[in-house]
């Protein structure tokens, strides 16, 4: 009779014990399925935030800017941004371009001072780059509203608006350091409130038209960076390569650094490195869950010693007996893993639609992670977890099963 069939029947001989064993493996598999799905969701979220709000798929900057970034080094800039954008228009891989100025400033209001992070954006070009209306919480985008006098239209992050008690129609005057390290100030009128997905952007950032920001900072046609998105089907590294080639003729080329987003130091790189650690954590969980199966196999071998002796006396080879007990353990591992993964999928699927709200936990955190994470199921978090769990639990069970080879059949028949 097929050993697998016999093994399957033997599992049912002590249902409670078998259920306990496979439950332990199921719990471990469930936890790991959720963990990997959550990590996948986090990686996808960070990638999206980086590409839309921080780095683009490819970023063009002055090569020394990052070394002095904390000092707001506007003089380390991309000069003649219009020329650079014109050249980018001829690169096949490029689908959209966003020239930007990132800068910091202070507002003094009601005896308090507020540190702000400003973004000078070309709102017309930005429409091809990303749809800002998706994050528009209230009011209108700055390029959709005319403001009077010397005020400049701007949109502020929701957290910032709450902090400073500002509504559309209100204005604030920002004091900033210019490119030549002097000072200048400008008055901005709020046209809209933006709900950035990243909490730290929400609490500090406002967006204003690029020409006004260039005037404020005395930057004359320069920007601090140009972000690029590529057409689908092209890898960021390919796009970066093509851009580098195209910009050879551009002025200032030797001072510029062109980087695909996944080569820029960010939380994403950290998460990728941490993935190796998470695999080890998963292994640990599975070994922990496997200890119950190991215990079950040890007890089973001990209790069924006489049966082992009988099977040997009836002519079953020792390796077949070992295989029988191994199959029992392997089937429990597989069933437990399958059950755990299915349960994990059942938990992750609704969360992948509603998301996990981490707003309170993310307060004060400046990573590029959104306040709401949507776990993502994929091959890694499902099929691979199933195979991984089954394999680990089975291999762990093999150790006590090997002990059967040390049992002499004659001694086994004498066992109580």
């Amino acid at each position: 009779m097929n050993l697998l069939v016999i093994a399957w029947r033997n599992i049912g001989r002590n249902r409670r014990r078998s259920l306990l064993s496979l439950s332990a493996v199921a719990l471990a598999a469930l936890a790991i399925t959720f963990l990997f799905a959550y990590l996948e969701g986090m990686k996808a979220d960070i990638a999206s935030n980086l590409i839309n709000h921080y780095t683009g798929e490819v970023r063009i900057r002055h090569e020394k800017y990052e070394d002095f970034e904390r000092f707001n080094p506007l003089h380390l800039r991309v000069q003649d941004a219009d020329r650079v954008i014109e050249i980018l228009g001829s690169v096949e891989e490029v689908s959209a371009v966003s020239p930007r100025i990132a800068f910091s400033g202070a507002v003094f209001k009601d005896e308090r001072s507020y540190g702000l992070r400003g973004l000078g954006i070309d709102f017309v070009m930005e429409r091809d780059y990303q749809d800002l209306s998706h994050i528009l919480f209230r009011g209108s985008l700055p390029d959709e509203v005319r403001v009077e006098g010397r005020r400049v239209p701007a949109a502020v992050g929701r957290g910032l608006a709450d902090r400073m008690d500002l509504e559309p129609g209100d204005s604030f005057t920002l004091l900033a350091t210019t490119m030549s390290r002097g000072n200048n100030a400008m008055t901005f009128q709020i046209t809209g409130i933006l709900n950035f997905p990243v909490g730290s952007l929400n609490g500090t950032t406002f967006m204003a038209p690029l020409p006004a920001v260039q005037r404020l900072l005395r930057m004359d046609g320069s920007v601090t960076e140009v972000l690029v998105k590529g057409h689908e089907g092209f890898q960021p590294s390919e796009t970066a390569s093509s851009i580098a080639q195209a910009l050879t003729a551009a002025p200032q080329r030797e001072e510029l650094i062109i980087q695909p987003w996944n080569e820029i130091e960010s939380t994403y790189n950290w998460l990728e490195t941490a993935s190796v650690i998470y695999n080890f954590i998963a292994l640990f969980f599975l070994i922990l869950g496997s200890t119950v199966i190991i215990n079950t196999v040890v007890m089973t071998v001990f209790e069924r010693k006489r049966e082992i002796g009988t099977l040997a006396a009836l002519g079953m080879q020792q390796r077949e007996i070992i295989r029988l007990f191994f199959f029992e353990a392997a089937i429990m591992s597989f069933v437990g893993s399958l059950f755990g993964v299915l349960l994990g999928i059942g938990i992750v699927l609704p969360l992948s639609r509603t998301g996990i709200d981490l707003t309170n936990a993310m307060e004060g955190v400046s990573f590029e992670i959104s306040n709401v994470i949507y776990p993502e199921l994929n091959l890694h978090s499902t099929l691979l977890v199933l195979i991984y769990s089954t394999f680990v639990a089975s291999v762990a069970s093999y150790i006590p099963v090997r002990g059967i080879s040390k049992i002499a059949p004659v001694e086994a028949l004498r066992a109580e």
């Binding site: 000092f71 001072s113 010397r150 204005s171 004091l175 390290r181 100030a185 008055t187 404020l216």
Partner: protein, 261 residues
């Protein structure tokens, strides 16, 4: 006869010797009085006589040195007593920008902004044009005597000049520099060196006078180096290029209306 004459000569000699003794004693007394050190309060009073005037008009240049190089800014400064100061920047990039100080507030005017910026309280600690000088350094309407308790420490040489070294401890809590040590030139009562400390005793700022000029009888530091010790690789030079004291200033020059004009 000779005896009578001898006695007369003796009396005259004795009187002359006594007179010489008296004069010598008086002379010693006078010279002793002229080397008596003035009190710490007197030193500060005379220092402030040098720096506080009815009115003043100055042209100045500020050079900020930092990790990225140097930045030069020129300005016209108008002062009235201790309370009112108006700074108008005249260098190309800052032209039209103004700073008005009155009482405990500072107002900033920028042609590109639709509103004035009003600085008060902690906001006064902002740096002026990225320099080592804060708006707090140029504000405040109380005298040193009203703000600090004084203690004479010693007499020291600074740059080859004999100075009085004083320690100042703030009597109020809300003071930019709770502790200061000043080295004041003995001859001209001008501040040659000024170390400023936080409440914890950490040195925050240092001002060194490189050059002094006498204008209308007042000794005024015309070249100063200011270092904010909390910033690395940074110091500021302030050079007063032209100084006119007790001049007629335009009417309402220190008003908010004139600021944005």
């Amino acid at each position: 006869m000779n005896t009578k004459r001898n006695v007369q000569i003796k009396r005259k000699s004795t009187a002359l010797f006594a007179a010489v003794l008296l004069f010598a004693a008086a002379g010693h007394s006078i010279s002793a009085q002229s080397t008596v050190r003035p009190s710490a309060e007197e030193i500060i009073r005379r220092l402030e006589e040098n720096i506080i005037h009815d009115t003043a008009r100055m042209e100045a240049e500020m050079v900020v040195h930092d990790r990225f190089g140097e930045k030069r800014t020129t300005m016209d400064i108008y002062q009235e007593g201790r309370v009112h100061t108006l700074i108008e920047y005249t260098s190309r990039e800052e032209r039209g920008q103004k700073v008005l100080r009155t009482q405990d507030e500072v107002y900033l005017y920028y042609p590109d902004a639709a509103e004035l910026i009003r600085l008060q309280g902690a906001a006064l600690r902002q740096s002026m044009l990225g320099s080592d000088i804060s708006y707090e350094d140029v504000s405040g309407n109380k005298t040193i005597l009203e703000t600090y308790d004084l203690k004479f420490l010693s007499e020291e040489q600074v740059g080859g000049r004999p100075t009085y070294k004083l320690e100042l401890a703030a009597v109020e809590r809300n003071v930019a520099y709770p502790k200061r040590i000043m080295w004041i030139d003995r001859a001209g009562y001008v501040l040659l060196k000024n170390d400023m400390y936080s409440l914890s005793g950490r040195k925050i700022k240092e001002i060194v006078t490189e050059k002094v000029d006498q204008i209308d009888g007042a000794w005024i530091p015309v070249v100063e180096t200011i270092s904010d010790t909390l910033k690395s690789n940074s110091y500021t030079e302030l050079v007063l290029q032209e100084i006119k004291l007790n001049v007629r200033l335009p009417r309402n020059i220190f008003s908010l209306e004139q600021l944005s004009w």
